[in-house]
């Protein structure tokens, strides 16, 4: 009751008679604006010109064709992971290990490209992508199995598997998959040319992964809105007891949620390895799988929202990189913004169900 105790605060939090539709749309933009204001204050406090910082974060990323390509490139893994996570969270399945599923997708997809890419010819990218999806699914199958069979929280299991996946990748590139001609660098030989995903347009690095992500967003909208399986998942997320009473299988929903989110994250991983990176190395992702959790919430767990939120988050990553060079700010400033954004968002969501009302003297 601390900040809203009516005796110490002239405003009172009051439940709305029904959730506000306007706030449902406005909460994410409001949170972004609040975050933006905080950032500019922080920059001013650090003695940087807020206007220059704004330009670096939100104008420069999109002021050239190359920039737009980079924005789409970085948005791809975020969008892929976040679409799956949004679906999963709607079902009340808390997969927080997308980073691990992404890493395993990179290992399986990248491994296929590495060892069979030359033999597969022009089929190579398709087979790699499939292998990446399967790898992510296999990794997500562990929390699914342990939750449905042994009632073990998928939160802990999926997160622990992130560390295990990263160590597995580190073992492979330090050991059996290390490039013998690589001067002892911990990385695999480069993927053969025909195993790489071609860029979407000249002068940019964004690849077919972005198109797949957009298609998946449309598919996921259809799945959630129209399909019976999507409906069952939503019901079991909103009202687990009612879902069980209606005979909706929780086991099936948990498996579906984790297979879809794991597969999408695996796809994100292979798109990185067969796309901009081109080799397997100890670090494949600067935390896309975790940032995707924020993207999913900022997108209000809705596919269209996720698409927009992943573009925003991608701008934050790009801005963080240029801020390092142009403003001498540490790269970690992006991480600070991401975490802060989620806090503002959670607070803003409150106003969907509640409103603030001034307490008059006679009420108090």
């Amino acid at each position: 009751m601390l900040p809203f105790d009516r005796t110490v605060w002239p405003l009172r939090l009051e439940r709305r008679s029904k959730p506000s539709a306007a706030m449902r749309v406005a909460s994410s933009p409001l949170a972004v604006l609040a975050m933006l204001a905080t950032c500019l204050l922080l920059f001013a406090a650090l003695g940087k010109d807020p206007a220059a910082a704004f330009r670096v974060f939100f104008v420069e990323p999109v002021d050239s064709l190359y920039g737009v390509g980079e924005l789409m490139l970085k948005a791809t893994p975020l969008m892929l992971c976040a679409l799956g996570l949004a679906l999963s969270y709607r079902t009340n399945v808390w997969n927080i290990g997308a980073e691990g599923q992404l890493t395993v997708g990179a290992i399986t997809g990248g491994g296929v490209g590495l060892f069979y890419g030359a033999a597969l010819g022009h089929w190579s990218p398709a087979v790699e992508l499939a292998a990446g999806v399967l790898g992510g699914m296999a990794w997500a199958a562990i929390p699914a199995l342990l939750r449905t069979r042994f009632h073990t929280s998928e939160i802990f299991v999926s997160l622990m598997l992130v560390y295990i996946a990263q160590l597995l990748l580190s073992y492979l590139v330090h050991g059996p998959w290390r490039d013998p001609a690589g001067q002892n660098f911990p990385q695999s030989p480069p993927l053969p040319d025909n195993a790489l995903l071609p860029p979407l347009f000249d002068g940019a690095r964004v690849n077919v992964g972005f198109v797949i992500a957009l298609l998946l967003a449309a598919l996921s909208w259809w799945f959630g809105k129209v399909s019976a399986a999507g409906f069952r998942m939503r019901v079991s997320g909103l009202a687990p007891a009612a879902a069980a009473y209606a005979g909706i299988s929780e086991r099936r929903n948990v498996w579906l949620a984790l297979m879809i989110s794991g597969g999408a994250a695996g796809l994100a991983g292979v798109c990185e390895v067969a796309g901009p990176i081109g080799v397997l190395q100890p670090v494949i992702s600067p935390g896309y799988g975790f940032a995707a959790i924020i993207v999913a919430f900022v997108g209000r767990l809705h596919p269209a929202g996720v698409v927009l939120a992943s573009l925003l988050m991608s701008a934050l990553y790009l801005g963080g990189e240029s801020a390092q060079i142009e403003l001498q700010l540490p790269a970690s400033v992006s991480g600070l913004f991401q975490g802060g954004l989620l806090f503002y968002l959670l607070a803003a969501e409150l106003f969907i169900g509640f409103r603030l009302r001034r307490v008059r003297a006679r009420d108090a």
Binding site: L146, I155, Y171, G339, L346
Partner: protein
């Protein structure tokens, strides 16, 4: 393999367990009050960074630990305002706290990377410390190791033997009933969350100023999550949590000594052990749903709105 080596391993397992004990016991108190705070990892990192920074700047480890506890409690307060006053989802807010803590500590600790700090010294207890083997095994630790045992005893006593503990548990089991009986549910939950934050902060500072006396980004490496799992593993009972922490301390240090013990396994696989062990023990404890049902605070993770 002589016995002195085993004593060394056991002693480093005890030290490795200490941050887990602080973080897990703090979380245990919050969870017994019905609040699930998944932000332990973030609070530990913020504690590690602020403790290290204050320790380096002031040269005083006492100030370092105070600062770490205050920093942990401060960002736990953020979590409290969101979940307890603004009724946000505890799982999502806890995740937000972890992600924010990772970012904040990396940002704030930027200029402290690579600096040295003098770690907490082991206490010398006259006669006892000098005993052969027993001295090294039991009486050659720093103050925090002994405090963690005291903290466990204190929390066990407080929860099970005092009126305040009974009230806290009642709030965790049924906030509505406790509220009807006139208990200040939200206030008690705030205090429990702040206590959890302070303990996580101390756990983090122990990492950065004593266990591995330096600051690196993300240095807690999942220990916050392991501490959370330990609360479940210990079925929300302080002494079992303590035992679980020592088990994990042992698993963590075994990888460091595996080479000396003649184990020929790539180091990456040994480093996976604590994470794999977390999954295994969780499966063992959760396998029978009754274990969780009987021990987990009934209102864990649910918001409570007094409805004025």
């Amino acid at each position: 393999m002589n016995i002195a080596v085993w004593v060394t391993i056991a002693a480093s397992a005890v030290r490795a367990a200490t941050p887990l004990i602080f973080a897990a016991l703090g979380e245990l108190v919050a969870e017994r009050a019905g609040v699930l705070n998944l932000g332990v990892e973030g609070m530990m990192l913020v504690g590690a960074m602020s403790g290290f920074a204050v320790g380096v700047a002031s040269g005083s480890l006492l100030l370092a630990y105070l600062a770490a506890a205050a920093a942990g409690a401060l960002i736990a307060l953020l979590f409290g305002i969101l979940t307890l006053s603004l009724q946000t989802n505890q799982v999502a807010t806890g995740l937000a706290l972890t992600l924010f803590g990772v970012g904040l500590s990396a940002f704030g600790g930027q200029s402290f990377i690579g600096l040295p700090i003098r770690p907490l010294p082991a206490l010398r207890i006259p006669v006892l410390t000098d005993l052969p083997l027993v001295g090294a095994l039991l009486f050659h630790y720093d103050l925090l190791v002994y405090s963690s045992l005291g903290l466990c005893a204190l929390i066990a006593w407080m929860l099970n033997r005092t009126r305040a503990g009974l009230r806290l548990r009642a709030i965790g089991e049924s906030p509505a009933v406790a509220h009807a009986l006139g208990e200040p549910v939200t206030r008690v939950r705030y205090l429990a969350v702040l206590f959890g934050g302070a303990m996580s902060g101390i756990a983090g500072a122990y990492l950065s100023t004593s266990l591995t006396p330096m600051w690196t980004e993300g240095m807690s490496a999942g220990r916050g999550w392991i501490a959370l799992a330990l609360v479940v593993f210990g079925t929300w009972k302080p002494w079992r949590v303590l035992a679980g922490a020592y088990l994990f301390g042992a698993v963590t240090v075994l990888q460091l000594y595996a080479q000396a013990l003649g184990v020929r396994v790539p180091s990456e696989f040994l480093s996976m052990l604590p994470y794999a062990a977390t999954i295994v023990v969780l499966v063992l404890i959760c396998r029978d749903p009754k274990t969780i049902l009987l021990n987990q605070p009934a209102s864990l993770g649910r918001s409570f709105h007094p409805g004025y």
